[in-house]
Subunit: 455 residues, 4 copies
Amino acid sequence: MPKFQSKKLTKEVVLRDPVHDYIHIEDQVILDILKTEEFQRMRRIKQLGPLSYVFPGATHTRFEHNLGVYELTRKICNIFAEKYPSRNSGDGLWDDNNRLLVECAGLLHDIGHGPYSHTFEHLFGTNHEKIGQKIITDPNTEINHVLREVAPNFPELVASVIDKTYPNPQVVKMISSQADADRMDYLKRDAYFTGVTYGDFDLSRILQEIRPYQGGICFTMAGMHAVEDYIVSRYQMYQQVYFHRVGRSMEVILQHLLERAKAVYEQGTLQVTPSLAKFLAGDWTLNDYLELDDGVMETNFSMWTKASDPILADLANCYLYRKPLASICIDDETKSLLPKLKDLIKQAGFDPLYYTDTNSAFDEPYDAYKPSGKNANSQIEIMQADGQLIELSQLSPLVRALNGTIQGDERFFFPKIMMSNSDEPQIFDPLYQQFQRYVKNGKLRYLRKPKTNKK
Amino acid sequence: MPKFQSKKLTKEVVLRDPVHDYIHIEDQVILDILKTEEFQRMRRIKQLGPLSYVFPGATHTRFEHNLGVYELTRKICNIFAEKYPSRNSGDGLWDDNNRLLVECAGLLHDIGHGPYSHTFEHLFGTNHEKIGQKIITDPNTEINHVLREVAPNFPELVASVIDKTYPNPQVVKMISSQADADRMDYLKRDAYFTGVTYGDFDLSRILQEIRPYQGGICFTMAGMHAVEDYIVSRYQMYQQVYFHRVGRSMEVILQHLLERAKAVYEQGTLQVTPSLAKFLAGDWTLNDYLELDDGVMETNFSMWTKASDPILADLANCYLYRKPLASICIDDETKSLLPKLKDLIKQAGFDPLYYTDTNSAFDEPYDAYKPSGKNANSQIEIMQADGQLIELSQLSPLVRALNGTIQGDERFFFPKIMMSNSDEPQIFDPLYQQFQRYVKNGKLRYLRKPKTNKK
Amino acid sequence: MPKFQSKKLTKEVVLRDPVHDYIHIEDQVILDILKTEEFQRMRRIKQLGPLSYVFPGATHTRFEHNLGVYELTRKICNIFAEKYPSRNSGDGLWDDNNRLLVECAGLLHDIGHGPYSHTFEHLFGTNHEKIGQKIITDPNTEINHVLREVAPNFPELVASVIDKTYPNPQVVKMISSQADADRMDYLKRDAYFTGVTYGDFDLSRILQEIRPYQGGICFTMAGMHAVEDYIVSRYQMYQQVYFHRVGRSMEVILQHLLERAKAVYEQGTLQVTPSLAKFLAGDWTLNDYLELDDGVMETNFSMWTKASDPILADLANCYLYRKPLASICIDDETKSLLPKLKDLIKQAGFDPLYYTDTNSAFDEPYDAYKPSGKNANSQIEIMQADGQLIELSQLSPLVRALNGTIQGDERFFFPKIMMSNSDEPQIFDPLYQQFQRYVKNGKLRYLRKPKTNKK
Amino acid sequence: MPKFQSKKLTKEVVLRDPVHDYIHIEDQVILDILKTEEFQRMRRIKQLGPLSYVFPGATHTRFEHNLGVYELTRKICNIFAEKYPSRNSGDGLWDDNNRLLVECAGLLHDIGHGPYSHTFEHLFGTNHEKIGQKIITDPNTEINHVLREVAPNFPELVASVIDKTYPNPQVVKMISSQADADRMDYLKRDAYFTGVTYGDFDLSRILQEIRPYQGGICFTMAGMHAVEDYIVSRYQMYQQVYFHRVGRSMEVILQHLLERAKAVYEQGTLQVTPSLAKFLAGDWTLNDYLELDDGVMETNFSMWTKASDPILADLANCYLYRKPLASICIDDETKSLLPKLKDLIKQAGFDPLYYTDTNSAFDEPYDAYKPSGKNANSQIEIMQADGQLIELSQLSPLVRALNGTIQGDERFFFPKIMMSNSDEPQIFDPLYQQFQRYVKNGKLRYLRKPKTNKK
């Protein structure tokens, strides 16, 4: 392939980063991307959204994460170029002509994210992946302009690495696979900023043992346990951080808040900033999207706390001032009790539509084989001394235990007061007590075992 | 003194914190303060303001810092209560009846801060210390309501600890002195989130050697070097982080941006959110103040990027998308050259009023003796084996070197393009070259040594 | 039970420790134990023996580990005394009268160890557990003397905690169980000194969630994932550090070296220091044992490098100057090839008795159920909100995956030269090549698949 | 200069190191040096000698430190080769042909050290620098043999780098200057293993800003504060660790122990291992020196605890089982009281010759100018934007404060019992009390102010 050139900076620029120590920028094009409005905007979008309500340190943003993925990509290219340089096409080693391409892809892989992406997408039909592709390939963006300076088709190539259609699997998998620069950065970064040490893993060792092969990227046998540890850390971060019940509760509130705002907007009575109004009206452009950030959303929420609609005002207040719903675990069997519970909640004065919800948080910590689905073809391979590859779960009992399993839980969220148990008698106490009989050890339960039909 | 009681929580609440590992909450009143709107609002105000433009990790907020100061205060009370409990009034040891009071003061010492406090105060005449006192003592705030539950005069007592009028110097100096819980937390926290390791010091050792005495808080001889190290770390953080030239450049832009907004507002053409409008109009209430946060400010800045006033639009753009001014060091001698430079800058098309500024950043790293001023009576004392106190700079050559000195620099800020040196000839190139002749090694210099009059 | 008293120190003594920051000593008796010759001697016995040949940083000694176990025990007592104090006998909470007892047991649990304990015991029939009991209960030791100052039966009580016959299971399991102070200290310590980050786990969280119950010590539900992480870390340390093939190779050499020394000693020609001579002669006392340490052993090895017996001299040289044997994995099937390999090795000039060995390294990372054996009754229990206990592997898929399994490998050790492959032809090259045909990907293999009899 | 070649390893060898994460070995010659007996022997010599009696974690050895210096040297070469490659002789940039030479020098710079070098040299007239030169250049050593494989004069060149006679100042100063790989490694390493965090400094930043110049090695202006911090850390480590009064006490005991052993040896009654005997007899060879290590010394001390000479036996016991002397600060004025104190000590039954001593511990934390002496020409230079050099103390007030000063103290050591103050009256109590009147706040003092003659 042709080598994409970028002017080298006469003196490298470094940014201090608590996770990687320094981010090293050696190319003019990388520096220029950083300076674009679309990229700088990432400074105002928190990486973990409402999880900062649970882990106060987790205020880090997508800006730093993108830089971190770039830095890891750069380091892996350095390692590959030094230890595994391709000598002739097809030898399965690393062609360093791909370096600038993969570095840009690493830097831009999340560029399409907006505030609270997942909740937002669900409600407004935005799609951060498609928007990301557009930001890169639309000739009107600053990023596209910068990338085009490298080569006319460079933006499209960067976009193809991110959407995994680029033909070289080493390049694609450096950014998107079960052990890619993206995941490695966010696990270490989220662990650092939350203060949760589970998420830490031995990145030095992994970088010591990573290597290219014909089909993508793998690890040598000496790195097997470091990769195993990384998979376990990932599982732990999901269980302890990403699936935290209070974080999910805040997400439930956020979703209902936006739903209610939409309803009120349709009645024509909502005070709202222009950019967000476009989304409530269902008629937005890329520029509107780029104007959104956490601050804009919170500014709207703050205005809504004074709305005349009492549910909107209350939900805005709950979100902004961290007043989460309570929750209990449910399962397929106990779900049939939910109508009963919702009825009690309604009697206690809450609209179940806005004050209750069920929410599942499940993850496949590792998936070796599933031929389709989001993890398709992304098993982690370990290379033996003779070059033979063995899939990770064949070697590790821990990964085997997690392989293909679904970890997580399903929860029912409801107003905290339903669990209250105060000394002073209150009007709804009998209702609360009735509700609480269904809850034991944080789980929903039957008061009487339901009869099962004979089979 | 009477012991202030608060209901103990049946089970302590802990918050994960990357700096202190856990924040431990044992009292209902502490938990209730956390839940107030005035306190939750701190989540939306960054601790280091525009410095996150320089250190991308520095997105941590005043919320976490306040929690950290509380936690350090709690730890120091634990140590004092165990090792130095007062047996009779006047023995100079620790009366643990002050615990709840000082913990609340630690938690609330910064509650009056708003977004970009220093710039904001300068322009709008707000005062975060007075506002903080008001938030605590005004009967309409949630915080006042919570504190009053402890005792009717409890809010006033907490406020008196913060404004240093409370009679017990041990209580006051735990929060406000040259080695207090406030400084210790922010140094460690800012170091952690910026990734700058200079700011780290040996907190374990300091807590091992801290002790009360009649006149306040001191350290035993065995802790001298740890305290010395803390003073040096503080100096290093000022030189490396707080005084960073790019951070100051962003502050200069912010100040000019708000000044210009005020001017445009007075012409009646500014689009602005209601809460900020009150400040531009010079007619604001506590509630208006409490509605401000970083997001509200940035939402306004974002709107202003489309303002018809070109200077306002450009400055908003420069701030939001990190386009700092350049700067050089100046001193009393070279200052007389500034009119000349401003003239060149004006010729190059920039209004010097909005595109240049001088800014001093100076700090007294330690001040042992000055009988007046902000550090009065705040020297650090080291206790000898026989109980005698020696002031720190008498023991440490490093502290002696910093004592009473002023460290920092004064800078002139101006548009970056004035330093440009591109290959392609541009219209203003002769102007730029003329400008650049005055700059050497980052300093302003005379082209010819000015004549000095004979004496 | 009666409270055992020890004079409190007027000022606590602290020792700096990189793992726990400080070791806090508050009791005269603890300080006095530290000062005994039997305890100081631990400074000269490395915690990980020959593993420092693999991980150069791992020079830490049993002295520090014993201090660390003491410190963890002290911390757990503090937590139990504050959060779970027993109010009446039989309530399943913590009786702090046991504190001094369990702290001494923690400090002394490994006091019977000598240099290279495991190898030494195997060859000379010493038993570090029995010797430890003797050091504590023999009226002629300094430690016994110190302990007797507390109470006449105090030494026996301390010994009974260590040998698990003391009736209170909380006290026993704080020192000896699958999640005890001993294991927690050595995992963190060995990880710190080797530099292998796998071994790190979230000790703060575990200490936050540890609690006593009727049957011993358990963890609350909120601590489940931290305990799971600890079990996984333990497994990782075994696979990566304790079972390291080169470490085991050095142990094999050590064992053969001592065996050969014994043989030469019996012929009456060995130069040996008096204390070690006693063991070679099979006639030793406690005092002889206490005179051994790593330095004494190495001093002997150094003398033996000049022995006239060539095998002894060579093995001493191999051990002292780190010349490990090579190794390959074997299994029950391939073991039958070993006579063939040993024959080739013999032809190449090495006595297979001293230059080859098989060595198994297997561990049960966690064992929930086995009714007998060393882990009997030591499953880890997690306490639900209602007080009900659930065994850890019921909750964690990772622990379930490890539960009752045997992890590790069996290896055949042999001279490295057998794998040599030099450019210059050497006399034994055909032998080496023949040998190497049996090895693939670090494993022993059949050249032809052995015929299996029809069933 | 000619490029010295060494066979590159087909696969780099890495050693895990807690300070630098990994030590990377890429050359056969480096690996071969590691395997020599002279180098392996460093594993048995503790880096900080008796300081492990004060900081229990400080059991790390000269082996690891030597590896660490090598690794830092390798990293600096990488940085210089990438950022500052010499294009023509005399351009003041880095000639990478020196790489193997300086790496070997880094690895071997301390090869001449034996056990307790400083005490040993003082008593037996050994000189670790001369011995180091001999180990490298003597044709009978394994190290010389390995080095000669590179080129016949390679051993002499390596030796000339270490003794600073090699003509290229960049090469020499990478190993020996006020900010060299040696000091940087030992500060970080000693801080890590003692657990004293003062010694930590920002190595990443220093490596980011280090650069070659005509006269050696300097740092860019952006690294000034990192270098300043390093100098301060160095000062702190001296004050807190290297000059620790208990560590010096153990050194005093060690010295008197060896002196007494010499005296007893001369009387012909000492039991001693052959290698040490040679030194007591004053007739030793390089091979004798290479046979010494910490273990051999301690084995002798252990034998001596049973010597018939009571002073020898007692001193051996004090050293081996950590029974330090007490100490107080003295100065030129109070020194005249020492005969009086020694007299009291003698009356209490101790031979002042063996049980008292004075010991100075002083260091110049930084020395910019002194034209002669060990720091000659070793000031640290900071390079301005225009290439001009400024000496560090001109820029840093902290370094200026330390520059040329002497930090430390002088102490008088004596038996601890002189300070005893027990409840039970003892025979020597009046003596002890008389002694103690001279001590206040850890310092020797006059009971009456001595009269000064009129001038």
